[in-house]
Point group: D2
Chain length 342, copies 4
């Protein structure tokens, strides 16, 4: 066990599903002190806060107005439409921010947030957690080490399980920004450059989703400057579990990240060979990634020097992923390929 | 061992790589007699014929002119540009034909061949061997049995190994007709209907292939009447072996056909867990399929009744697959999606 | 997130490798308060205690003498030879104990500890963690649900990685009590009864281990009342990782628990198909089990009613496993099978 | 396709299940002519012979008396008790013999057969087909190439599917000579030396097998001169298929040969991930091995020079495997380990 360091004082803002994951993870980080918990739902923040003997507030503004808490960083895990305002509130006080994806709904707001972070010299980290998944990082490292040579074809599969509630889907921003953006970011990360064109098509097999004018099944095709081609396939409901795979073909070989069964048990009988189902949901699939991204945030809080260079999810990543997601949606709606400019 | 039947007398026409596979397979079929071997290359047919004590000819025309051989069926395994003439030569004599893919280069010739077969009441079977592969048949049966429900996304991967010779590629007809047609046929077979639109894109990473105005890496996207979406990815050179996979997502689950390692050996050491490479080439990958399609042909020869209904590869399969391959190539060359009509 | 409960006040006694695992795990349990940390090594307990603002002591006796701490339960993670004394110290005060395996070195002392627990009505849980591993529990449940019918052959593989230090091995108690006992307990757990005979053989490939008069590679064979046969194979040094597998053959099928690769990454190239190495050590392999056994302990602390019936590791398990391990060692040393009586 | 060679004229003696496998395999060998088929069952030989236009006889003696057939080699695939006489009949005429396992029932007869072969300078090959299986050969080569270093633990699993008929089992010679001998030979082959001691135990779960005084489930343990330990586990009825696995642990790593599913199809749904069953029987599992051993025999027939050195299954292999099988049976019946001498 390493030498103890001075504790980083963090505020958790938003205690929904993802906020609770970060809460538990931070409890295991001996160099972190959760100094306050914030949530607009009455009692939600207090309930958690009481269990670890910390303070709770109904809003970040209330916390700042209170003035009694010294804050080294804030984790924003609230609904998407509140992100921009909360990000700015923290940054303007010089407080580093970890913000769940997306930082903002519009490109203009994204740019404003990062401009403010740059102006204030304060780290802003957006939570594209797949970049922190140990299997995906291992895959990325294999590519960067030249193990498969120049990339030719990249394929990702992202299929939800279980089917999200229609109530959630109505406010999700649509499958392109809610789901596909994760994949688009992964493709950009693996390629290390921006695509030149996107073509997409989709369908709503659920009438409820059709009525939202959204899609539940989508395929996206991206073209890259070197001639490489990407495909992304998405589905809102894979009965067999949360299906999250990457496959990259290069001139020298192929690297894949496969799904992970929940156990290693295999049953063989007259009907065949049976393995257990794969991870059930994003909380099962990405526990290490959620922890790792917070650890990255803590490093940025500890040392702001050259923070923009150190960021593992940068302004351009958030910005351009959003532009590509919008172009993919445009392609699906018009039936035509869309050239990309950034 | 089943009761012996009267022997079917077959002629093998063309003794290149695929012809030799059929030759060896027929030796194990106790109800088949290879009554003659035909090849234009001097000595090639004779060399094989001598080993089993049968006759050899330089051409099918010569064999028919000779008149000494009674023929129940002919296997045509010659270069593509000779197919149509040889198919017609046999059909016009009332002799059933198994013809390697494609039956003809143009849609008009395809239609002529099948019109003649229908007119004469003589079976014509085209060798789309993937429909006979035991794993693919198993996958198709799972779909037809409703195990995955309505199909939503179909993906096939077809990557050559080793890189075919540039000499071959120059005469291959291009990656869309030579390679992608196999995948297009598989998608049509699995869906049980025709696609409504195709979008494709490709690149030549090898300058020799670029100079042929062909592609070595291609992705094709197909849209289906029910909203399902297909992707096909092709590459002329997968270093790790002949990569042939199918994945079908349905409303109730997913079915995949994976690659087959050459052995079942696994070596575990400090560097990881190592399995042997997968099948090296189509001859390694599809031995059962090549045998099974000839057995299907023999059944058609034995009983011509309702042969068109019994055909596992029909006129429409050959015709429409070719139309879609041409449309995919048009899409790749124009950069635009192409609506399909048949 | 469940309703908060009153907190259970636990003392961690011993902060070596396994003690630190329990420490971190308890931090994530919102219903647990670590009220003190104990370790004889000067500063070791204090270093951890300071990070969470709790008390530290040099010994359990000192803690009890101090009188300032209310204790609901104690975790004993100290060296084996200290276990019995510490277990009795707690039990005699009416404090429930979780004790790392083994509870004592001799059968007599094991019996004394449990007799005291029974007399005082205080839970004593011994840490055979494999019974809490999610894959092994899943396998056990499949057997108990009758999925493989009557058991015929049981095989476990337990191979260390990396090679433990010779210094540790000199004090380990020998491979039969240190390592094989885990497997023996698993076989007893799966069979649900006691074996009737044991035969074992072993060899020391490392001269350092031969000089200790110990073995580094061992095979044990157990016979069961119904005629079933078990094998256990152990090795102190598997280069490829910590190899922990179970295989059970029954009349209706087979169930296995396989190893888990560290990532899901697969690299395919000319040399074959490569997966990442498996778990490196017991800390990588059994994180869920270590957490789960403490949660079981907390349940016993919360409700002592019928604690002996609820125990997932009982007196007989600890006692008989030790008897069998001794008999296995006797067999290896004499070269003869040994009948078992309990 | 290689240059044609002069044909080797072989006689197939015995057309049961294994004889028919060799029959079909030889049809694909262009350098082999099946000059006669022999079987004592009236009509059995004739039925096959007629299909390829060759001669048939009721016995080898009849064939030799007939004098009309020139014979380069004989394949003996008759019931075990007839082997010795037929082997000697051929060898005494200077005709090479391939004989299915075992060459004889007693060690004395085995020695007599090989003495005669040596005296006459005529190859005698015994059909331990596992030495010719491509996966097992690959595993053996990995060991011989030093990839896992010195061997420490060897494990094989051999489980029949389906349960052989009780009628067959009554004449099988018992599980040790019928089944275990294959595994014993594999262990000797992999180790490259003879074991020093054997311990075995077994049980009959089927009362019919108990009544034969045989076992249906057996575990054998072998000790080797270098300290390595082997286990063999056998079962007459594995519901999930014909289970044939090898695992070898060495100082540098582990090499395994796993089972092969019948297809590569995987179905994923709410219940888990399902692969097809493994090979159903020895005919499914070892097709390449059966072919390869006959090709080895043909090489020996073509060139007898130093045939004993070239033999891939030697006199000592047949002899010592039989001695070990007998000792294993003795151990199971007496409950004591048995020292081995050869």
């Amino acid at each position: 066990m390493a030498e103890p360091q001075s504790k980083i004082r963090l505020v958790l803002c938003g205690v929904g599903r993802i906020g609770q994951i970060h809460f538990i993870d931070m409890l295991t980080m001996l160099d972190v002190e959760i100094v306050a918990i914030v949530d607009a739902v009455p009692g939600a923040a207090k309930k958690l806060a009481d269990q670890i003997g910390t303070k709770s507030f109904a809003s970040l503004q209330e916390l700042f107005d209170d003035g009694s808490v010294t804050v080294d960083g804030v984790l924003i895990c609230t609904p998407t439409h509140t992100h921009t305002e909360l990000v700015k509130l923290c940054l303007s006080r010089g407080i580093p921010v970890f913000c769940e994806k997306p930082v903002a709904v519009t490109i203009e707001e994204v740019d404003e947030c990062y401009a403010l972070a740059r102006e204030k010299g304060v780290p802003l980290l957006c939570g594209y957690q797949r970049r922190f998944d140990s299997s995906f990082v291992r895959l990325k490292n294999a590519i960067d080490a030249g193990q498969i040579g120049e990339i030719r074809i990249v394929k990702t599969t992202s299929r939800d399980h279980p089917l999200p509630s229609f109530a959630f889907l109505r406010t999700s921003g649509g499958i392109f920004h809610d789901s596909a953006s994760h994949d688009i970011d992964v493709h950009r990360w693996l390629m290390g450059c921006e695509p030149v064109e996107v073509f997409a098509t989709g369908h709503a097999f659920y009438k409820e989703i059709a009525e939202m004018n959204d899609y539940d099944s989508v395929v996206i095709l991206l073209k890259w400057p070197n001639g490489a081609i990407s495909t992304i396939d998405l589905c809102r409901n894979a009965t067999y579990g949360y299906d999250q795979r990457i496959e990259v073909l290069g001139e020298k070989g192929m690297v894949q990240a496969e799904n992970k069964p929940q156990t290693t048990v295999v049953i063989s009988n007259e009907a065949g060979i049976h393995h257990d189902v794969i991870s059930h949901s994003f909380t099962d699939r990405y526990p290490d990634a959620y922890k790792s991204e917070i650890q990255h945030f803590i490093q940025l809080v500890r040392d702001r020097t050259n923070w923009e260079a150190k960021l593992r999810v940068k302004h351009a990543d958030v910005r351009n992923t959003s532009i590509i997601a919008s172009a993919a949606e445009e392609s699906a709606r018009t039936g035509k390929p869309v050239k990309l400019t950034f």
